[in-house]
């Protein structure tokens, strides 16, 4: 891979200056009525390459904004789902795009959560805090700290492949859990916990009722905007030179090395970016509840993130978001079960209870999706789209 790959990709018969960022780039137009005919490289690589995608995204965003009229408890849940989506996109970068299995996502989420909480915490409080409540400081700090943790793990990760890596990252979760449980001054200790980061931007508190809306509405809009920012960044990363290098490593790392992708550098980069996303997600995750405990960053959290990526769709940003929303909303759905199925109990001491069903569903859904629809929810969407595209000749 040389520095200037932009010109190489230009299709034959097209003026070079219509390439991406070329001098005097003329936006080549598609012939009328031929929406799938690409006449320029830039069209092929565009973020939203068809008009239907543009319209669809606009509709989705419009709907997401309109959803802020929902009751507060649902809004809080959706906000948590959006934050989880940021984390799932991060895991998708390292596991989906770069193909490096990581069961250690919970550890990086924890690093981010504690960095943010410490930076914005009360300096006179029981736990460590520096009193800088601006989100502009603690959010990047959380991302940077988690990315640094990712870079520190990467030398091990770059040496190991496949399942060895999965086990090492699993070990990381246990070691991290131990450190966070013991480091009382930072984390408040197990069972006690500490207050989370304060979501404040230019003096505006998102975690309080204001003239603009209720607490839930402010948090919802904040998380929605941040999710869009992070999702677009990930999508852009995936279609850039770095993203192509990741895909090459995933498909066959030796072949990638042969065509000139420096493996160690790109694996390190994948871990750093993914951990950075996890850190930001961790920082935001607990601003909704306001309080968190070191026991929450366990293997189950890692499995949940894996479930989000696999249920949503591996190596797709929209899939990761769909999967995260699905997994986050699942408890809310299972809560309704006792009303529908009389043998399911809402009481934790009875045996088929909703909590058991909820945990079992994570596992069952992972298995079912992998066996029957490996591309996840995204794959189902692709199939539905293909059906209607070729309708009435779809069979």
């Amino acid at each position: 891979m040389t520095e200037r790959t932009g010109q190489v990709g230009v299709r034959p018969g097209v003026r070079p200056d219509s390439g991406p960022g070329g001098p005097g780039a003329v936006r080549a137009r598609r012939p009328k009525g031929r929406p799938l005919l690409y006449t320029a490289y830039a069209q092929d690589m565009a973020l939203l390459d068809t008009r239907a995608k543009k319209a669809g995204l606009a509709l989705l965003l419009g709907a997401a904004v309109l959803l802020s009229g929902l009751p507060d408890d649902l809004l809080v849940l959706l906000a948590a789902g959006y934050v989880a989506a940021i984390g799932a996109i991060g895991l998708n970068i390292v596991t989906g795009y770069a193909g490096q299995v990581s069961l250690g996502h919970a550890f990086f989420v924890a690093v981010g959560a504690y960095t943010a909480a410490a930076v914005s915490g009360d300096p006179g409080g029981r736990t460590l805090g520096f009193g800088i409540t601006s989100m502009l400081v603690w959010l990047p700090a959380a991302g940077a700290a988690a990315a640094l943790a990712g870079v520190l793990v990467a030398p091990l990760a770059a040496r190991l492949r496949g399942l060895y890596l999965a086990i090492v990252t699993l070990g990381l979760v246990f070691l991290g859990e131990h450190v966070f449980k013991e480091w009382d001054h930072l984390t408040g200790g197990p069972g006690v916990g500490r207050p989370a980061a304060v979501p404040e931007l230019f003096g505006f508190r998102f975690d309080a009722d204001s003239a603009l809306g209720t607490r839930a509405q402010s948090l919802y809009m904040l998380m929605l905007v941040l999710l869009v920012v992070f999702a677009v960044a990930a999508r852009n990363l995936a279609r850039s030179r770095i993203g192509r290098a990741f895909s090459a490593i995933r498909d066959r790392d030796i072949a990638a090395e042969v065509i000139g992708v420096p493996l160690t550098r790109y694996k390190t980069l994948a871990f750093a970016i993914s951990s950075g996303y996890a850190g930001c997600a961790g920082a935001l995750m607990y601003t909704v509840t306001g309080f968190f405990d070191p026991g929450s960053f366990n293997l189950l959290m890692s499995v949940q993130f894996i479930a989000m990526v696999l249920i949503g769709g591996v190596a797709t940003v929209s899939g990761a978001i769909a999967g995260a929303l699905f997994v986050t909303l699942l408890p809310r759905i299972t809560q309704e079960l006792p009303a529908l199925l009389p043998f399911v109990s809402a009481d934790t001491t009875q045996t088929p209870n909703v909590f058991q069903i909820q945990v079992a569903l994570y596992g069952l859904l992972i298995v079912l999706f992998l066996v029957f629809e490996p591309r996840g929810l995204f794959g189902i969407w692709i199939r539905a789209r293909a059906y209607w595209k070729s309708w009435p000749f779809s069979y």
């Binding site: 399942l163 070990g171 070691l175």
Partner: protein
Amino acid sequence: MKGVLESLVRGLGNGSVYALLALGFVIVYKATRVISFAQPAFMIAGAVAVSHLAGTTGFYLAVPLAALLVAGLALGVERVAIRPMVGRPVFVVAIITLGIDVVVRVVVNGFIGLDVRQVGDPWGLSLVEVGGLAVQQRWIAMLLTTAVLVSLLFAFFRYTRYGLAMRAAAFDQETALAQGVSVGMVFALSWALAGGLAAIAGTFAGTGQGVDQLTWIIALKALPAIIVGGLDSLGGAVIGGLAIGVVESLVQSYQGDLAPWLGQNFAVVTPYAVMLLVLLVRPYGLFGTPEVERV
């Protein structure tokens, strides 16, 4: 010195549980090239089965019964969820086993309830004097059982027809298939063996302190054991398991005095720390085969 030796024996006892679990991991890995994250579920299922059976059949009959039961369960899981995935990337299959683990554990937890269940073993926490050392009886029982099982297993692989088939399939699946080895049977047998071993390990993990909803965590400590020993080495699994047990036990005894800054209960996570250290030096474990890639 006496303290060190007693700690060593405790480590060997716990280590033999890890060794049994690690053997299960390695057997499945050698046959299918997949790490089965479902081992914790099989382990806890075995322990719970023994705790329910021991009342009617007695402990000594309950253990083999439970092992057979869990082997059957593993066989079913392999047939339903793993066999259709032959040829798919190992990561996908590994994650499927993770999903199975979660599901089976939830079901088994329903049979545990909120209290600690006793497996009905005859040893409890009682001690016996061996050469001036106070040793818990259950550790001796664990070590002896493991020694017998490991020798049986190695003899099985070395001398029987099925053992030969398993070794052949582990060496090269396609060639084995061409020689008339039923590779599907090898997959099934490896899962059943792993399930049975896990059930016995679970029973021993439950002796003395009983089984509760968190006992499954013990099974994950066999993962460092197989990494230390090497993913594809049966001997490495046994040595790795015993080594992890001994190191954990020594740390448990002395870390509080020697290195208090590591925090309480550091012993619980020592296996993972040992694993990271070994991997820094030998990425394929002590006895594992380095992977040779051909382009």
